[in-house]
């Protein structure tokens, strides 16, 4: 009896530690916001805050997708270039093909799913390490984007409605003055979707089971390969959505863009407390992580810190976040 009592308190302590980590990330975010607000009068203004959220939308959606793969204990280096590939596909369908916008969206998301499935197949069935498999897919999609587009940007000239997907503010029509662009809502919508997928559905449960102990999961009769393929496909779908937001914001598909976004996405996931060794993580954490990154970038820019130094500082933050996580784990 004594034993179970101490076990209960340990569980409670564990739960507290998990909550503490999220609280810590959230507190850091608030602290940053307070700090920048005090440092510059230009920071805490409606337009700037919207700017931050808008800047978060693209990498934020990529980070959401990356969270799934990272919880399996894998990694997806292709999310950035797959995003670009998807926006190029949208451009091809809408501008070159002259088809309606919804076809373009479907095509882009479908292309994302396909790219994810290719990575997933390579990882799960061909047993290629995720780092290598997704590196290959990253190079392939980067190349294909340039080939398909003829290395030139594809502008959505004939379809002005396309730019409105991300940049128009639908809510301003309902509540005048509240000019929050759709991209922000798409981002939070995708975050809610991701969170539900991860915590409430069977995919999410298998996702955590695989990440926790893949061999035990396999020996529990889980079709590990099929579910892994599914999870990489989900990551691809999120890249597709990010591709639409990106293309809509720029009103064009820029085939040379994309590389480097995957690292920012991974950084956001890690800052949010998702473990690179798998089995642990949350969407809320990833959202906070992505916000910390863009608040930092934005705030440092307002304080006129040169861009080179911004990168250095964000690198330091990633180190710090992972180190804090390691300390927490050691205590747990």
């Amino acid at each position: 009896m004594e034993l179970s009592a101490s076990a209960t308190s340990r569980t409670a302590a564990l739960k507290k530690a998990g909550a503490a980590q999220k609280l810590l990330a959230f507190a850091s975010l608030i602290l940053l916001v307070v700090f920048f607000s005090l440092s510059s009068a230009n920071f805490f203004k409606f337009d700037n805050i919207i700017g931050i959220l808008l800047a978060t939308a693209v990498t934020g959606v990529l980070a959401l997708g990356s969270t799934f793969v990272i919880i399996t204990g894998g990694i997806d280096l292709a999310v950035g270039t797959v995003m670009t590939f998807c926006s190029v596909i949208a451009g091809v369908i809408i501008t070159f093909g002259g088809m309606p916008i919804p076809y373009g969206i479907l095509g882009a998301v479908g292309a994302g799913a396909l790219c994810g499935a290719v990575s997933g197949f390579a990882v799960a069935y061909l047993k290629i390490p995720p780092f290598i498999a997704t590196l290959a897919v990253m190079m392939i999609t980067k190349g294909l984007s340039l080939v398909i587009s003829g290395t030139k940007p594809i502008y959505f000239v004939d379809t002005p409605a396309f730019a409105k997907i991300a940049m128009e503010s639908s809510i301003a029509k309902l509540i005048p003055g509240l000019a929050i662009p759709n991209a922000v809502f798409i981002y939070f919508g995708m975050a809610i979707l991701a969170s539900l997928l991860l915590t409430k559905t069977i995919v999410g449960r298998y996702n955590f089971a695989l990440g926790s102990n893949e061999e035990a999961a396999r020996l529990s009769g889980i079709n590990v390969r099929a579910w892994k393929l599914a999870i990489y496909t989900i990551t691809g779908v999120f890249s597709g959505v990010a591709g639409i937001i990106m293309a809509s914001r720029l009103n064009s598909a820029q085939p040379a863009l994309g590389q480097g976004y995957e690292l920012e996405a991974i950084a956001a996931v890690v800052i949010g407390g998702t473990s690179l060794s798998g089995g642990k993580g949350s969407i809320l954490g990833t959202v906070i992580g992505a916000l910390i990154m863009s608040v930092l970038t934005n705030g440092l820019r307002i304080l006129s810190v040169p861009q080179e130094w911004q990168t250095v500082i964000i690198g330091g933050v990633v180190l710090l976040a992972v180190y804090v996580d390691i300390i927490r784990r050691r205590k747990g």
Binding site: T201, E215, A217, N223
Partner: protein, 500 residues
């Protein structure tokens, strides 16, 4: 002869909660081959690990050439001249023979900045010549046979000027002709005055090579006897211990004759050779054998965890195609690994998850949404039915005791409705009180019509629970015993029977 080379007296070793060795003694003369025998877990390895400085003894004394010595770490043993050849070889496959022999102490030149390859080779040739081994010192170790690799290990130990050589199951991976070569080398070492501790289960080998035999059982010293004058039966009797025979045995009710699972001609590499058997409904089929006999490999092959090279598995009269555990589970087979923490549990996750994980598809709506409440209820039912001691279903399983973790794994397969259960060492790492509970549970499951394969190295466990007993040795089934006819001696005899 005077003072022996090694004398160990009153050796005691405790691990948390277990007295592993108590009052153990051992003697080794120069130029002697002294066999150390006992069942799995008898304490042979622990005793040798104390002699080689891997473990520290809690009590007792060790004399080396008449001097009392302290062996606090492996390096100290090496310096004294005590070498060990492990079952798993410790060579680096991509390096050459010469490089392996002198790893960490390579001869150098040019102020120690460069490796002196000529000198390295010269030394290697010298030591290899000592045992008349015909092998190129520049050959890569991975290109050599296992037998030759083992010889290289022996040479390596000798080059450390070892006078005591411990060999742990040296013939486990060797062919008959390779064993002849090994014995030639052992005799040569003997002649040059090296004392050899020879750990093996194979009686006929002990008879051939050893001078004396020391028997251990349950962490205790039993006796030391001269090999020539002692019949094999007596050695086996000492190994298993007479008193265990009298222990009450719940003579199991024999199950029905309905065949649930049939294995035909299963082969996998060297581990599983032409294994065939039937499992009946409601039966507990014990598979006995020594470590490395291929029992786990058979289980994993049936379960689809490893692909067999050939063979057929028939379930309820139908040929089954099992290519992955996923297929096996769908056919109602559950496997409980000996290594629960690595292969059975999601340690960080809670009891509910671990019980439900194999049955997730049952708890989801068509949308993929999980019915958490129902999952929780099912987990709670299992916790109650199996009497799992846990503060709740949300407790991470890593905080549960070994026995309760095992029950969680059992619960997982029960929820999945598996009716063929393969238990691999079901009570390993489980304390005595909980063992009885696991036994009762196994019997209850069989009574409920589940068909059980139970792999165990503990003979009393096999004898107590099994309706029938298969004995394996070196990948083959060397015999089948009925519950009434089986004795520990009979099992041990079959378990040490080479090349049936």
């Amino acid at each position: 002869m005077g003072e022996p080379l090694v004398r160990m007296e009153g050796i005691e070793k405790r691990f948390p909660g277990v007295l592993a060795l108590s009052g153990c003694r051992f003697e080794l003369e120069a130029g002697e081959v002294h066999a150390l025998v006992g069942e799995n877990g008898a304490g042979k390895s622990t005793l040798m690990k104390i002699l080689t400085g891997v473990y520290r003894k809690d009590a007792g004394t060790i004399f080396y050439k008449g001097q009392e010595v302290d062996i606090p770490h492996a390096k100290a043993a090496q310096q004294l001249g005590i070498g060990i050849i492990h079952q798993e070889l410790n060579l680096i496959p991509d390096l050459t023979v010469a490089q392996n022999l002198f790893i960490g102490r390579e001869p150098r030149k040019a102020l120690g900045l460069l490796l002196d390859n000529k000198e390295l080779e010269r030394r290697a040739v010298h030591w290899l010549g000592q045992l008349n081994l015909k092998v190129d010192p520049r050959a890569k170790v991975s290109d050599l046979t296992v037998a030759m690799q083992q010889m290289i290990e022996i040479v390596k130990a000798l080059s450390h000027h070892s006078e005591v050589l411990i060999m742990d199951e040296p013939t486990a991976a060797l062919t008959d002709s390779e064993i002849v070569e090994l014995f030639r080398v052992i005799r040569q070492l003997k002649a040059s005055g090296v004392g050899i501790v020879y750990i093996s289960h194979r009686m006929e080998e002990l008879k051939e090579i050893s001078d004396r035999i020391t028997v251990m059982r349950d962490g205790r010293y039993i006796d030391t006897v001269p090999t020539k004058e002692t019949p094999v039966e007596r050695i086996i009797a000492m190994m298993v211990g007479r008193e265990l025979q009298d222990r009450t045995r719940a003579v199991p009710v024999s199950g029905s004759k309905e065949t649930v699972l049939e294995v035909k001609g299963l082969n996998r590499g060297n581990a599983v050779k032409d294994v065939s058997f039937r499992l009946h409904k409601g039966e507990i089929l014990g598979i006995a054998g020594l470590m490395g006999a291929g029992r786990t490999e058979v289980a994993r092959a049936i379960f689809g965890a490893d692909r067999p090279d050939s063979g057929e598995i028939v379930i309820r009269g139908r040929k089954a195609r099992i290519r992955d555990p996923h297929d096996a589970v769908r056919l109602g087979i559950g496997y409980l690994s000996e290594d629960r923490k690595r292969y059975g549990l999601l340690l960080e996750m809670d009891v509910r998850t671990n019980i439900a994980v194999s049955s997730y598809s049952r708890f989801r709506r068509w949308t993929g949404w999980m019915r958490d409440k129902e999952m929780e209820k099912t987990a709670e039912e299992q916790v109650n039915a199996l009497r799992i001691k846990t503060p709740g279903v949300f407790q991470p399983v890593k905080f549960l005791s070994g026995g309760n973790q095992q029950k969680v794994v059992i619960g997982k397969w029960l929820v999945r409705d598996c009716d063929i259960l393969i238990f691999d060492e079901p009570t390993r790492g489980i304390d005595v009180g909980a063992k009885a509970e696991i036994y009762a549970l196994l019997e209850e499951l069989a009574a409920r019509g589940k068909s059980i394969i139970m792999i165990s190295s503990e003979l009393p466990e096999i004898l107590r629970l099994s309706h029938r007993i298969l004995v394996m040795c070196e990948g083959r089934i060397t015999g089948e015993l009925s519950a009434d006819g089986a004795t520990q001696e009979a099992i041990m005899k079959l378990a040490t029977q080479r090349g049936a």
